[in-house]
Symmetry: D2
């Protein structure tokens, strides 16, 4: 197989998981701008996700969020997905939207609140059993807003206890993916603020606990690809929540703010053997002002383009330049891949997969956008609260 | 008058404006935690604000937000305030919560949306005429989320046109206070992102246009007191929106995150003659997890404490050390004031004003919190959306 | 002329000024790693700069730094440049390396030090007269390290006085370019920390005073292209000091850290009419660990590539999408240009200019690197201190 | 023992290590401003350090830096220290100032450079044996400036190998303290950029390897006290390098930029049992524009004041408020301690220790400053390069 063929083969087997909540309404604390045609229930979210997969060919799974995607019959939901060529992906827990969680969930000072939160996490594992999902993705909004508000260390103890209980409940091929986030909604301390904290907890829990890197959850100036390389080296990279940011956790389309950074991240994934392993590639974005489905299609394409460029890096030439200490030469090898226009290559990949080479255009021409605007009238649009 | 007496006199005449919306519910994009006893209408907000003034003695005015505080009879609202020892303060506009404003308001590409937004601003001046408010405070959520989304420069032209039209409408003793903010809700460009942009517009508009410094609206590392000193030197500091932050626009209680910074800001205010002039000292905060009225009392006290310390700086000794290039000596003069425990002084000030020396305790003992929880049952709690 | 021809024509007339000091040794506070073959005097710097111009065709001028490039006979130096196809560019002042400047230069509390600093600036204008340079570039390291160390406002007064005196001395076609910088070497306040401060001073001085944007001198998260668009709109953008950064003022090769940002900046330049006007495009970089001349060649090429992409933006399609509020469509127009591989186009441009299409390779093959290592033996290598 | 007596007892036994290099000249990449009276050799540095201890009573040890403090006879140097009431403290390695280290030391692509670096580290352990020092403090300037310059993961492998070899060499009561730093002098990747990386390496090495928190080495917005609490919980906090910062690694006097942060850090130390254990409290600062010895005295006092406030926190009241979820109450308990003026208490502590209650004044009156200016004439002043 030629190198170009190998690159194309890798691109054809890539999989990017889209999140059910990105199909619903979202916004900032100031305003949620509702859009027309937005799904009213989990099935309609899957219908939209099926379109993303239909036109990109590499978005076969959909992450669910509990309780936003709570249904009575998960088997039926899974069948609904399968009928559209999809599978249900990671189960995302929610321990931040009940009034009880004002001061935290698994780290709350009150044991009763912690119990409730852990029970929700255990219920999520039950749902995984029903859906066949392999990954439990945990993000905790826990933290404090004011110095002194709670005891930093005691909260870590409570967190460790909760995680251990949930870890015990996991089945043999189930994983716990622990997400970290610098801040928001907590503004003084966050209980899992950085990869180090997530890593330390996962290490103690065991091999089924791994770290999720959300690309928008770091302090300014953080070198994310370094973290990716380090976690892969430690065998502790569970997956990505992709999105992009200029400021805080902006949740813009992945690759929109800094495509070079996304390329560097994907290069470390490729270099560290993460492309063909168990690393989950998930989107976690908000489409507050732009059309949702096309934004998700574009995001999947952005991941593909970054991956294609990462795969095109001439690693032998790079290694040689690095060995020789040729700073400019090594940098040039990397930049040569980044500067390559990979869109023609990806068009070929799509054609070979039997897809339209232009997913954005194909979606636009499909009439789906008009159809859902016309048909999804009445009911309550899905959003972060539902 | 001794120096101590002069400091106390200055503290007695200080005035901190509290914002009507801080008495209502607020939260993050993830969740608004409702609190018991929260006001249901503008009058109840004023009732709460009256308690803050009653126990601190230095919070005599309340900022209104239109349309959240829209009423049929502003004269009656003003009387309601006066009967409680209050006056109505700045009028705050809202051009970010209508569906039309998805892509901006006064900077929107569509002239019809801009017209609507300007009309709202003009209506705010009408309300100022009715309430007797002197200040129109403008914050624009305008901006873009993606590179290319709109033309940066054209948006500035539109902004300039809108501001000019509103400026023309201002009465002789009315001011336009233009607020800047780095980001949020826009995540790529904000149309008034920094003091330089606000300053440039105000300069062209004329003397009735001035800049508002919101202490939470800067990039990490920005030296806010430098901006304060510079704007005072230019005669363009219109006021403050006080709050504090560790990360982004956290909107925590002023002085909670970095009391030393607040002291440095207040020192520049004192040094630049801003304490006795037209600078408006306003709070603009969210009390998402803490009790609202006590949090506002505490915030007013934090401003008082920072001001007291700033007034205690031995300016002659400071100037002498600065002249001599005595770095450590000059710094020590400033730190000596900061390290002083000014709480006893402020207790004296309050006693001399006929107040309880302990505002937090006095409020707690007053029974107001229990009363509003008991009485404010039913109806719709005020929040950012109402 | 076809659009492609117009783009090529614009690229052929582009000019990037290289700084004499980038040819000498540089480093961090921890270590300056000396390189072999580094120039020992201003003439040898010009010899190296001539190579950059020889292989890129768009680097015809060289910025000087006084006193690092002080010579007895500037006319002779100018002739040395001309004989190599170069002209002398901006004169950069240095008011930060004398022991007197420990607490500042033009903002120093001691009038004698201020006098010395202003005299140096006036001397720089004398040198401009001798070299025919049009631009005086002013960067002040002035600031303080500790709160209270000096009076922020008094320092602004001193700054204004110094600038006014130098402004008066400028000839009819000479400009003063005022650079701002957030921090370093001052760590608490910097006297010209942001574009707003530089703009306010330039505005008062008059039309010959303009702002320089150094791409590495901003707080994290600052949107530099917004500043560029704003300064162009105000007619106050004097020029750029190009370099790139991940953290602070890293002074890496322009375009190395965030090529998408450089493209966005160049797009605003093109859109604001800055490409064909008086805006000076200068590099200001350090090559601490990489070979200097090739790094400068690469940097010039990076500016060219960003400019080419900016010129390729389909502005009609962009304007149409912006008018329609088509967020994804407008973004796609911009990204289409960014994602284009412009290296073939630039190879054509070079061939049409009679140059080797591969400047890096051509320089490597030229033998210049080996020649200067062999010949420049003995003497004292140029660096930031000489 | 009353609580006040317990606080005073704790303050009397506190120990802050001062760094030999802070007595010498330092600066930024732009300029090192030499000061009069600066030591010319390690003994003179110890003489100055003895003054800091003489007037503060809590600075009994001095950190050495190899090779800057290299001497022929370390036993003699230790005696010189003892005669002045001092002991030699941590040994700091230097693998960043030889020309070989341009591309790194223990992470360098060339095995020969790595060998040299490891040999230096082993030599530092030899010196520890000679001086009786317990701690080897490792800071690596290793990293890269450009994407692609070297392989991130391979560098981690090299780092791990080097650390393991040095760890093996440690004696039974010797520790390895591993410092992390976000950036500088490397501007793209740093090989130990954050606490997570340092922690992961220390965990694998074993109990004698611990993490050092340098308060200036974090990304903007990082919550340092969270890291401190977490490392104490993990038993992996080896010590502090104290200094303060507004922007990057400013190396200002500890407590100068954000005294509230220093207090919060010291509170977590107290709360986590770190005050009475093995945590090393070291200064690591630069006194570029201020007088060095008084700046170090002031810094030691700043640590004392923050510690005193931390000890004064009413931990029972705090725990009660935290248990009840009383956000404002818990915060108020913490703030009450912070707002206390502890200078009178510390004056008492000093008097009870037989010291002058005013260390700054006592030093100024001692005549030492004048004496060293008069006597230390000629020779070569110590600085970061010697």
């Amino acid at each position: 197989m030629t190198e170009r063929a190998a690159v194309k083969a890798a691109l054809k087997t890539q999989a990017v998981e889209t999140p059910s909540w990105a199909y619903g309404n979202s916004g900032t604390r100031f305003k949620v701008f509702a859009q027309q045609g937005v799904p009213r229930d989990p099935r309609e979210k899957l219908d939209d996700a099926a379109k993303v997969h239909e036109f990109t060919g590499v978005a076969p799974t959909v992450a669910l969020h509990i309780p936003w995607d709570k249904v009575d019959d998960y088997a039926a939901l899974a069948r609904h997905a399968e009928e559209r060529g999809l599978r249900l992906g990671a189960i995302n827990s929610n321990t931040f939207q009940d009034d009880d969680y004002r001061l935290g969930s698994v780290c709350h000072p009150d044991a009763a609140v912690r119990r409730k939160a852990v029970d929700h996490l255990l219920e999520c594992v039950d749902i995984m059993d029903a859906t066949g999902s392999k990954d439990l993705k945990l993000w905790f909004a826990d933290g404090t807003n004011y110095p002194g508000q709670d005891d930093i260390r005691a909260r870590q103890d409570r967190l460790a206890g909760a995680l251990a209980e949930v870890y015990e409940r996991l089945g043999d091929d189930q994983r716990m993916l622990l997400e970290y986030k610098l801040f928001e909604p907590a503004f003084y301390t966050t209980d899992v603020p950085d990869w180090g904290t997530a890593y330390a907890h996962c290490l103690k829990l065991g091999p089924k606990a791994q770290v999720v890197v959300d690309t928008g959850h770091h302090a300014p100036g953080t070198n994310i690809e370094f973290i990716v390389a380090t976690l892969l080296r430690e065998g502790k990279l569970g997956g990505f929540d992709f999105n992009s940011r200029f400021y805080a956790d902006d949740d813009l389309m992945v690759g929109a703010a800094d495509p070079f950074q996304l390329f560097r991240i994907m290069y470390e994934v490729v270099r560290g053997g993460g492309l063909s392993g168990d690393v989950a590639f998930m989107l976690d974005q908000c489409h507050n002002v732009e059309s949702k489905i096309p934004a998700i299609v574009r995001s999947v394409m952005n991941v593909q383009e970054a991956t294609a460029k990462a795969l095109l890096v001439d690693r032998e030439a790079l290694a040689a330049a690095q060995r020789e200490g040729d700073v400019l030469g090594a940098n040039a090898v990397l930049m040569d891949a980044f500067n390559t226009d990979v869109r023609p290559l990806l068009r070929e990949v799509r054609e070979e997969m039997g897809l339209d080479p232009d997913p954005m255009g194909a979606y636009a021409r499909s009439g789906w956008a008009e159809k859902i605007v016309a048909e999804r009238v009445g009911g309550r649009q899905a959003g972060w609260g539902a």
